[in-house]
Amino acid sequence: MSYQKFFNPEEAYSRSEIEALQLERLQATVKHCMDSPFYRERFRQAGLSPSDIRTLDDLKKIPFTTKQDLRDTYPFGMATVPLDKCVRLHSSSGTTGNPTVILHTQQDLDEWANAVARCLWMVGCRPEDVFQNTSGYGMFTGGLGFQYGAEKVGMLTVPAAAGNTLRQLKFFTDFGTTVVHAIPSYAARLYEVMVEKGIDPRKDTKLRTLVIGAEPHSEDTRKRIEEMLGVKAYNSFGMSEMCGPGVAFECPEQNGMHIWEDYYIVEIVDPDTLEPVPDGTVGELVLTTLKREAMPLLRYRTRDLTRILPGECPCGRHHIRLDRMKGRSDDMIILKGVNIFPIQIETILMQFQELASDYLITLETVDGNDTMTVDVEMKDLYIDDYGKLQALSREITRQLRDEILITPKVRLVPKNTLPKSEGKAVRVVDTRKKY
């Protein structure tokens, strides 16, 4: 069957068309923001009024929005519509304080699905494909985000969700899965189990395309995955504050991720001075939403470090390309696509009287799976009972799981046994294999 090249006409817009649309949507967004007490106050403090935004360059007059702002206004303080217009929320885990909440109207969800569908279409997904999603569903946006996008493309979707590798493989062969969304470490795990079970992905499955994201990974990782599974693997970028997946995505050129500029205005700033950096220079990604109804965000500091790739893309899209994320401007850990701050773990541990204050978070790749181990020092052994010690580590594990949504392995260790560096405790050791 023959299909159109672009999912949306906006994909083919020229720079001037993109910028004209951006200005129109920015002005509408700024006006709409005045329905939120938060932005009304922000503008008042900055001596700004929506009518001051006459050109795209005027965006720079608007103060940045930060994750802390989202926490401070938790849960609904940044909504620009009444809650009865909202149909869903997604929440990311908080650090010590509040988590962040993103509200969606039906229109927001439709636009989000459209953006994800556009990404999938761009890499060749079509209605005759079978799409299997190995993301966790629920609050993690990689589940529902890809689900609705894949349905919008018209693919047959298999919402397999996370885990149960043997079942995933059975679905591949039984349902003829052609497209899979998986975090890179899990893609490698799928391959290992295929080898164990004597499944040749090239002969025994119809796998063709892999969508990988949520975990920082190198070009080498991508190539390894492509060689292992006999697929094309495309990098995906998203974050819950910007809906989730569908923000930026690689095209078939596999050279940078197009970020949809009809949905977002992109700035890259020096994280210290907050001044813009030239194209090609690494800085912090700052995004302004242009089509968000329930909760628009102006100049949101994502904390992700990246750069704009200069030059035109041969694919014919003029939406700018972002390089792979270079890391975070803070200490966040990303494990299996979940954002975790060491302070969250510390907060839980410190509630246990039996534990001393030193702990060590180790991230490592075990059997192709990324895992977290938390070593905690015991204060003193006044428990002469294995059962009680095991109950203690189980309780710590349970509370950590509730907080970070990942089940770490908890090890109780004697005091003064964890490594110290220059008198300061080492908190995180990351030896994860970069494929």
């Binding site: 052994l381 010690l389 004697p414």
Partner: protein, 142 residues
């Protein structure tokens, strides 16, 4: 009616056990009995030794996670069925044994154990006339 036992929390990693034993050696403390179970990450090294208070002080001073606790030590004739008879007395009173280990000393069997109900266990020992080993007996025997 009880003896002191050291309970040392040690990591399941090479060198952990020897570093504890070396500290005791330096103080010329003699092990009478000891036990450790194999678990994945850590172990509780339980020790009956000469001069347990001194041993406790030494280990604590060296930053070892250790506690000094009291366990029962009863002496039995070294004959088949003696342990069964003794433990049956406790079981009959609904007393659970948390852990138990044994050794031979001067031709007598010695059972070291901890129960969930020390008061009641002491009553059982007294009313059945079981022969208990006291701390001073241990040091005299060495």
């Amino acid at each position: 009616m009880t003896v002191h036992q050291l309970s040392v929390f040690i990591e399941n990693k090479s060198g952990a056990l020897v570093s504890v034993l070396r500290l005791l050696k330096q103080e010329n403390i003699q092990l009478i009995a000891s036990t450790i179970a194999d678990t994945a990450d850590y172990g509780i090294f339980r020790i009956i030794c000469s001069r347990p208070e001194k041993a406790y002080e030494v280990l604590r001073g060296a930053g070892v996670a250790v506690s000094l606790c009291e366990v029962f030590a009863i002496e039995l004739d070294d004959r088949p069925g003696k342990a069964a008879d003794a433990i049956e007395l406790f079981a009959g009173e609904g007393i659970s044994i948390a852990y138990l280990y044994s050794f031979l000393l001067n031709g007598k069997g010695v059972l070291i154990f901890r129960t969930d109900n020390p008061e009641k266990a002491a009553e059982v020992i007294a009313s059945n006339g079981l022969s208990v080993i006291e701390e001073k007996d241990l040091s005299r025997l060495l």
